[in-house]
Assembly symmetry: D2
Homo-oligomer: 461 residues x 4
């Protein structure tokens, strides 16, 4: 399961030699939101320069490149990883110039009316270099120009779906969050600079102070004249609950709720809803660790690190083949035999998508001597695909969309399987359920989901 | 002095697994026309895929990438080298999609009415991702769509300057040469495939047979229905004489004239026009070698390799600094003392641009014992900048635009200096002078040269 | 603080195409023991081939290289990382050939009588290509040949210090552990193959079964004739307690003691010895996590992940400079404000070396709102340098060797500071104290420590 | 056909920050003698540092590395290229330390009594890390120490074969040439520094003045006390004639004979010995170019560049496969149709080894329209393998060792084939035949050739 992207932007009232470096550190703090590509665009008030590339932030930028990117405002972007892809064109920020001006755009989310928008833009003469929705957003904005602010306000009436945007022209930095507020975006202050970031951890990383979240439907524009805010009407909210369940770093605060606390509470409620007669609580690292701590805290069953992760398994790892294939997940995770031997274990994870990894982990714990294994999931079964930025749109890959819980329990080989209820998850997060998007669990999409636009005009290497 | 680009295209009547590989070999044969970036786009009849990157053809492509680019038609491009630049966006082919379809475009030349065209395109809603004229051409074509052929015909009335183009949509491959025919473009046949290339050497490299040159103002379209040709009116021609003087590989045939023969004749005529009382004819490798052979053949003065080039001096070569700076050109060229000692030498090169290298060579030959050095140049003094694809647009760098011949002779330290006359050069080439662009020598630009468009909207790293 | 190395070896009764691949996976499981270089040597019964390189196991090996290394026995090695070094010669295994045969040697540990041995070897005609003690070991073994077994037995009387060795000739694989048994080495079985590894996690990773530890002073030789064991007299043992404190992976079992359990018990005993009036137990990730869990389990004070580590901070990370330097440790660790705010915290780590990082962490937690911070260290103060494989030989860098505890408390800014007693640590490990090396804590070196051999004959890049 | 190596050394009376940089430029000038690996060792009077790596000089060294290698004396080495090999251990200089001191050794040539020497060294306790003869030389020297000069003198009585050596300890730089003087080695002066190089072109490149050749059997030692020379008895000489035929750069002067002149004279004599009724003389670039010029000068038949080489064909070039294999040599060489069409051609090359390439070239010229092709080779048929540094030791690959001239003529498809006589070649070089090694032509090996030592103790990747 993968998130779309991470955003970081900064506006300085005066020229700043280190502006790209600050974005660099912000992006490193957001690296968990995307490892495919990274990019930074900078304006010095007259020209927009940028650098982007495939790989981790560390790989794309070096001292020399950062040194050339001084200016007064900057936006940065990290994009999620697709195995084997090598698609330079998809890297962001997208920088586009036309009669109405020049814009750099960074986008996190997923637009669902891309077919329609692309047709409209094409009918007005726009041409495309990629198949990304982010390019559509950039062209929509530039097409509505030259007044960037009005273009943004206008675009918000056309765009449907999930979008947090950082938009920069030569003089202005604009942060936008869609009316339903699917994805997080917050504002901070670093000395006399205004900072925007997808998660508060990026503010912490650069030493910025949290000011507030960008509101759903809000446009915040920073320029030499200061900070201005605009709103489009936004009747309901739909913050992606999966940000709490999995995506965000535990030390982030989203919608004023600590992600760590939400996960810990989810673990506690899971213990109440799905108790188990066990000797030890084990979390699947790193996704299930916090909920496992919560489960232990609530149930009084001791918490132990029964599974250890090998942190050196990188992306170029050579897969085991033939005779060695039975090594499976064992290279990435190892069971701590001494701890689990003879024990009845509560095995906690944040969610189950396809179920294959969980099956291997259960098997590994049994080989290590666990007496019984009670799998507890700190969120409800995922039964519906996501159209708003999570890469689970094909329901056929979701085990809970196909099988009943009892069958899943058998498939993964657990002695028992228990999910947190949707009510429990909402309570754990602590936000009203009408402010959350829970569609992957209950199918209640906050926006009508159109048939997907599959007519790709060209494909890239 | 640097040329713009090299083009190679192929259309196969049936799917061909090796189509990108053929383009790869074609581009390697054209590598002398550009070393900055390389790219290949392929269509399988439905989708256009591409791969491009910075560096030599060998560096950009490997077996794996070529293996993924099978199809029925393909175009490839090599671009000239700029020290230290790293501009992925400028790599070609440019692939662009809009309402009217999808196009891949590869361009060799230089458009001079870019300001005007860009304004027009912007006023109709086009947006840009780079500052290259090639992107303008691509957008112009796609904007005039969806009938690619008519778009091409139409675009030829708007485009001013030098352009050879290979244009490919999902089903068609189109070769275009501007009405003045500045740059070369030829057609060949390889089994049942139609092939296009900037120079005939690329046909030779892939084993294709030369069919004919694309005519100035001609559009050749290859599709499943065969080969069709269209012409726009073209009152005069202006084939760049510098292709004969320097750019093209000597084994190419341009406008049905062998480059080698033209250079050899230039050397012969130079010997007649600018005789010298000497013992040995030496060419500056590799640019002056052929003309030196011609000079020797005509004059009867023996030809000798008095200068040897180190072929291992690459682009990452560490420049001599401080104390060692006096090594200068010596690392790249070495004088053959045994041969030149005590001799009166005719030193032949194709042209003089700034004069610094020639000065160092003369000095080196003198240190090696040459008694006297008579510099002979197989083309006239370059007095005017080029706006049609040669990187000499700043007249202030052209020594012959600033100094008289006698002064240049002193500056480079030669015992005598003689240029081939313009008439001589034209005779050597053997084409009527009204079919050639001789502007860099006589300032007679075949098109009115506008003030250059310097308003760059954004700059890239 | 850094360990020396990790070892992995395998002997198969029949030719095995995948033998290097198995070593590869074993080394990845041992990667935490060394990230500077990696190497694998393989014998097919007649020739010894090898491949080694700088970097992580993943970077050094690819499918092609592994494919060429088939055979019947293989040994592999990972070496610790030194910033900026690029010393290919230090990579292991070292392969050396002489009259008496050919040997591949991989070494973990540190020899202390290198000066003397080198002089002896030199006096007998040996020559060196590096300054490593591992080369000395290899030469000592080959010099005592040609009977490898006797050479090994003999060498054990000469070698002083810590050494686990894997030695391989064309037909035999030999595992050696020094008489004091400083470093771990275990034996396992994978199908009909014999496997050796520095830690049991490597057995787990390749699916091998643990058989037993190699005993201090033991030589285990595997050949076509089976497994033979030999012992030299070994009056006392001195297993490095720091393997339990820090080096080994928590899921390893050393000397039949689970590392995780030892750390958890250390945390429990720390809670008893050094109680604190607090609301929350926080471990410094990853080094203090297990002890923190133990502290929480014993004290009943809830455990929480008050510090989150950024797992994407790699080795090429650009350090903050000038204005941004105050970011300090914040890029690597972040305090979880919501959790720690207003709380009195027990902050647990495994040890304090220089004290600078701990000071920054305390400061960070205070900024995040912690009310009071009680630092608890799950081992005694490190007061003595190590000469047996740990990179802390310069006492001047050890804060506890210079300052009293009260001063350290002030320096790191803690409300209180408490160390586990040596007795407590020994009890936590559960081995008799006379089987452990505790020298870094009590200065009781199990071997007389000679003045270090500093006369480096040559230095390498 | 490949040469072994190139050497460059320098001794400065005072510390020189640029000493490694000078070696770097010297090695670039010698790059044609070896492309597999490069290395430089430097002494500052106390320590010897070095850096070496696989690849071209340009790839192995950068500003940073050169900056760290300052000192008073330095030696450098380039090694020949073997496709696909990756043998770091074979890179030179070899730096070795033992009781008697520390030495850096760089070697060009081939030792033929390696078996015997290795056994002797092994019996005295030496051990090996590679299978190269250069390591044997280094160990032999260090074993005979500690007086380096005497060790060198002594070693010359043991070493049999071809060897030019640069040997450096902390204070001295020694140049050695074997008593038969197979390979070239010269001495120059650069300001107040003494310089040694395999060919004079390297002196030219760094701006040094040629002083004299090192004599066969001579040892030249440079130290703070100045330059000293020693000789061992040397009854006859055997300078490799193939250095003149192929290896050396044409602008080098070997044994006081200009390589260019020797080749040009060989071409002239070839024209006298093997006249042809032809219209054009064409050389195979670059190996046959100079002889072709000589043939033309003598015969009066015009010289023309009938074959053009693609200088961008690098080592990573993707080979044509299946359907495209018939492209063969065409990607590397192209025939100049315009020039050769209808002509009777004299095609000149320096030598024929296996004959396959020559066959393809003849075919290519015929396709390009050549009427008849008379192949002329500027040296005699190669009928015997070389044991002194040229990679042609397997006679079965030498076409002239298997087939008669008439058969070779047929095989390569030439209208006629003519070789220069051995007498002609010796006359062209201009040295007495008893000062040359002509073994590859006449089998008269200057040293008894032992059966080759094939018992490789270990193989490296």
């Amino acid at each position: 399961m993968r998130e779309s992207c991470g955003l970081f932007g900064i506006f300085s009232p005066k020229p700043d030699l280190n502006i790209a470096r600050t974005v660099y550190y912000g992006l490193i703090a957001l690296q968990h939101r995307g490892q495919e590509s990274a990019g930074i665009a900078v304006t010095d008030g007259e020209k927009i320069k940028y650098h982007k590339g495939l790989g981790l932030v560390n790989d794309v930028f070096d001292e020399e490149v950062l040194g050339e990117l001084s200016g007064r405002a900057a936006i940065g972007h990290v994009r999620y990883s697709t195995t084997g892809s090598n698609v330079f064109e998809n890297a962001q920020p997208i920088v586009v110039a036309c009669q109405r001006g020049t814009l750099a755009v960074a986008h996190n989310g997923n637009i669902i009316n891309t077919c329609e928008l692309r047709k409209q833009l094409e009918s007005k003469g726009s041409s495309f270099r990629s198949t990304t929705d982010s390019e559509i957003v950039a062209l929509l904005l530039i097409e509505r120009g030259p007044d960037v602010l009005h273009a943004c306000l206008d675009a918000m009436h056309s765009l449907q779906g999930a979008y947090c945007l950082l938009v920069m022209d030569q003089q202005r930095l604009i942060a936008i969050r869609d009316p339903l507020g699917f994805r997080p975006l917050c504002m901070g202050r670093l000395d006399d600079c205004v900072v925007f970031a997808s998660e508060t951890v990026a503010l912490d990383a650069v030493g910025a102070e949290f000011v507030r979240n960008i509101e759903p439907g809000e446009i915040v524009m920073v320029s030499g004249s200061g900070v201005e805010s605009y709103r489009v009407s936004s009747s309901k909210n739909a913050f992606c609950v999966f940000e709490f369940v999995y995506f965000a770093r535990p030390d982030s605060v989203l919608e004023n709720v600590s992600v760590y606390s939400a996960r810990e509470r989810a673990g506690r409620l899971l213990a109440l809803e799905q108790p188990a007669d066990a000797d030890l609580v084990v979390g699947v690292p790193d996704s299930g660790t916090v909920a496992a701590i919560g489960y232990s805290n609530q149930s009084g069953i001791p918490y132990g690190m029964g599974l250890i992760k090998n942190k050196y398994i990188g992306r170029t790892f050579i897969q085991p083949s033939q005779k060695l294939r039975n090594l499976g997940v064992r290279l990435k995770l190892n069971a701590l035999g001494e701890l689990v031997k003879g024990k009845s274990i509560v095995l906690v994870d944040d969610s189950i998508v396809r179920g294959t990894t969980m099956g291997q982990i259960v098997k590994m714990l049994r080989s290590a001597g666990a007496r019984s294994i009670h799998v507890r999931i700190a969120s409800p079964p995922i039964r519906y695909g996501c159209y708003f930025g999570v890469d689970t749109s094909d329901r056929r890959e979701l085990i809970a969309a196909i099988l009943e819980e009892k069958k899943i329990e058998q498939l993964i080989g657990a002695d028992s399987l228990g999910y947190l209820s949707l009510e429990g998850l909402v309570n754990a997060v602590g936000l009203p359920s009408d402010r959350l998007c829970l569609a992957c669990f209950n199918g209640a999409y906050p926006l009508e989901v159109p048939s997907i636009c599959t007519k790709y005009l060209f494909e890239k290497e």
